[in-house]
């Protein structure tokens, strides 16, 4: 199934009466990657959780793949959206293969046990992330980085047109970061929509088409990279001095001073 776009209008969401994000507006088209950036606690994860259908929309509207979800409702697009959370949590006694198969819930065409096509999907996802050798290991034996790759693989194994990744680079070494970068670009080239939250600003230009900058739950910047990735704006939002580099191809990169 294809998904033409995700449209978010005046979105507000939170926990109980406390609103964590307010007034978020963006639009991602088929084949695009949106990077959500902002300081810790700014509401990036909350935004992804709304799109993943874990917490309800409090105000505003979300439109995913042509279906609209209003305030007060959950985004029930579970069979179109996959989500990999930031912290790699899972049953330490589960084998990686069983976890990836479990993630086919809601997208697998069989009723009870998974079929060959599900097995193909998980093997393909494992190959993309280079974790074929981990398939028969216990989740509990893996390192944090390996666990992270397993969760990303379980989201990709669902083959949904929308993939949400919360801090996909966290816990990963350089080689694995580069692997995940390639996977993200590869998904976008196949027409997937990828929305991810990240702190690695220097990697954003490698894969993102658009950037959404939020600070304390409020959207302070949205648009193409060169518009949002501005040193003064970022210094103001993150509250720290940044050093700016210009890459050979003209792309600007930022690191803490």
């Amino acid at each position: 199934m294809e998904c033409p776009s995700i449209i978010v209008e005046e979105l507000a969401a939170g926990y109980g009466k406390r609103l964590v994000v307010k007034g978020v507006d963006f639009r991602v088209e088929r084949g695009e990657v949106l990077a959500v950036i902002g300081p810790n606690g700014s509401g990036k994860t909350t935004l992804l959780r709304v799109l993943a259908g874990i917490i309800p929309i409090v105000e505003g509207r979300v439109c995913i793949c042509g279906k609209s979800y209003k305030a007060g409702s959950l985004v029930r697009a579970h069979s179109l959206v996959s989500y990999a959370p930031a912290t790699p949590i899972g049953d330490p006694w589960a084998r990686v293969r069983d976890m990836l198969l479990a993630a086919r819930y809601g997208v697998s065409r069989s009723l009870f046990m998974e079929r060959d096509e599900d097995k193909c999907a998980i093997e393909e996802a494992a190959r993309m992330l280079g974790i074929e050798e981990l398939l028969d290991r216990f989740f509990g034996e893996l390192s944090s980085g390996e666990k992270k790759l397993v969760l990303i693989a379980s989201a990709i194994a669902r083959k949904t047109p929308v993939v949400l990744l919360d801090e996909p680079m966290a816990f990963l070494d350089l080689a694995n970061q580069s692997k995940v970068l390639k996977v993200i670009r590869n998904l976008a080239s196949k027409g997937y929509i990828v929305v991810l939250a990240t702190h690695e600003l220097h990697l954003v230009p490698h894969y993102a088409d658009k950037v959404l900058l939020i600070s304390r739950g409020v959207q302070v910047g949205y648009g193409p990279l060169d518009k949002v990735l501005d040193r003064r704006l970022l210094e103001h939002v993150y509250g720290t001095r940044l050093v700016e580099f210009t890459r050979e191809d003209g792309q600007r990169l930022f690191v803490p001073e």
């Binding site: 959780r49 993943a52 259908g53 874990i54 029930r76 579970h78 069979s79 959206v81 996959s82 989500y83 990999a84 959370p85 949590i89 899972g90 049953d91 330490p92 006694w93 589960a94 084998r95 069983d98 976890m99 198969l101 479990a102 993630a103 819930y105 809601g106 009870f112 046990m113 989740f139 509990g140 034996e141 969760l151 379980s154 949400l164």
Partner: protein, 312 residues
């Protein structure tokens, strides 16, 4: 099959053994005594099987939905709470199976919520929940012991029930339980694919469209139902709910769909064999079932805790 035959042929009455059992299976006539002994033993075996099945399934379900590998109806206080309910029923003179069962169910749920409220204060970690569960269990068991002493002969005429035993299981209550355990079992199988997603963590399970809260409530209520029914005839039996799912898990892995089916084999197997040991160990005296199941369950518990520490 073998365990069932073993269970039917062994017991304190030595006059009836394998020989008489084969006579019955071949359709040869039995003496009234032989017949009575075999009937009693078959009820007992059935009771053990139902208890093992129900407690094993409850343990398996609870371990997944509470995301706690140590969860077990006994360790979480469900069993002792149900026993308290039964004793209160006897105390107020409501001994008909339905009142007793309702009280046992209410007792199981009440202790479960108490354990949960207290473990929230203790931080909700897997170990905190179990330590709170065991603590509450001990307090409730102490109350139960005092009640049994105060009630004297009125309660099943024995202390044995308080430590878990299928020796005096009443046929009607076993049959009532079969129904409850079957409902719980069928429901777990129907929901097993959704429950299985919890191996990915609650966040991911919810993003897959699984209503984690509702599935947790379902499993807790079903476990309390099954446990209450079993406690009403067998008392609180320890460790079966922990050991049976883990034996199954070591055999077939962590996929809940396979695990739940395997637990239906491992649960009755462990409990029938434990019951055989319980009746032959000190013949003609009966040993409480918990004393035997602990021997299987305790090493499992220790192994799990050590392994967990190694993994961090």
């Amino acid at each position: 099959m073998l365990s069932v035959l073993l269970s039917l042929s062994l017991g304190s009455y030595r006059g009836v053994g394998a020989e008489e059992l084969f006579k019955m299976l071949l359709g040869e006539p039995l003496t009234p005594v032989e017949c009575a002994v075999l009937t009693r033993r078959s009820i007992r075996t059935l009771a053990a099987a139902v208890a093992g099945l129900g407690l094993g399934l409850s343990g398996a379900g609870l371990q997944y939905v509470l995301r706690n590998p140590l969860a077990d109806p006994y360790l979480l206080g469900l069993a002792s709470g149900a026993a308290l309910g039964v004793l209160i029923g006897v105390l107020i003179g409501r001994c008909d199976p339905y009142s007793l069962f309702t009280l046992a169910f209410a007792g199981a749920l009440a202790t479960f919520f108490l354990v949960f409220a207290l473990s929230m204060l203790a931080g909700m970690s897997a170990l905190a929940v179990i330590v709170t569960g065991i603590t509450v269990s001990y307090v409730v068991s102490a109350v139960n012991t005092v009640l049994v002493l105060a009630l004297g002969e009125k309660v099943y005429g024995t202390f044995l029930w308080l430590f878990g035993s299928v020796a005096y299981a009443l046929k009607e209550r076993v049959i009532q339980s079969i129904l409850l355990v079957s409902i719980a079992g069928c429901w777990l199988i129907i929901r097993s694919r959704a429950i299985n997603t919890l191996i990915l963590g609650e966040e991911v399970a919810s993003s897959l469209g699984v209503n984690v809260k509702s599935i947790r409530t379902e499993v807790v209520v079903l476990s309390a139902l099954a446990t209450a029914g079993i406690v009403a005839f067998a008392g609180p039996i320890g460790f079966l709910g922990l050991a049976a799912p883990w034996v199954a898990r070591l055999a077939v892995g962590s996929d809940f769909r396979r695990l739940v089916l395997m637990t239906m084999v491992s649960g009755p197997l462990i409990s029938i064999l434990s019951d055989v040991v319980a009746r032959v160990m000190l013949t003609p005296q009966e040993v409480p079932l918990t004393a035997v199941t602990s021997v299987v369950g305790a090493p499992v518990l220790l192994y799990l805790m050590i392994r967990r520490r190694v993994w961090g």
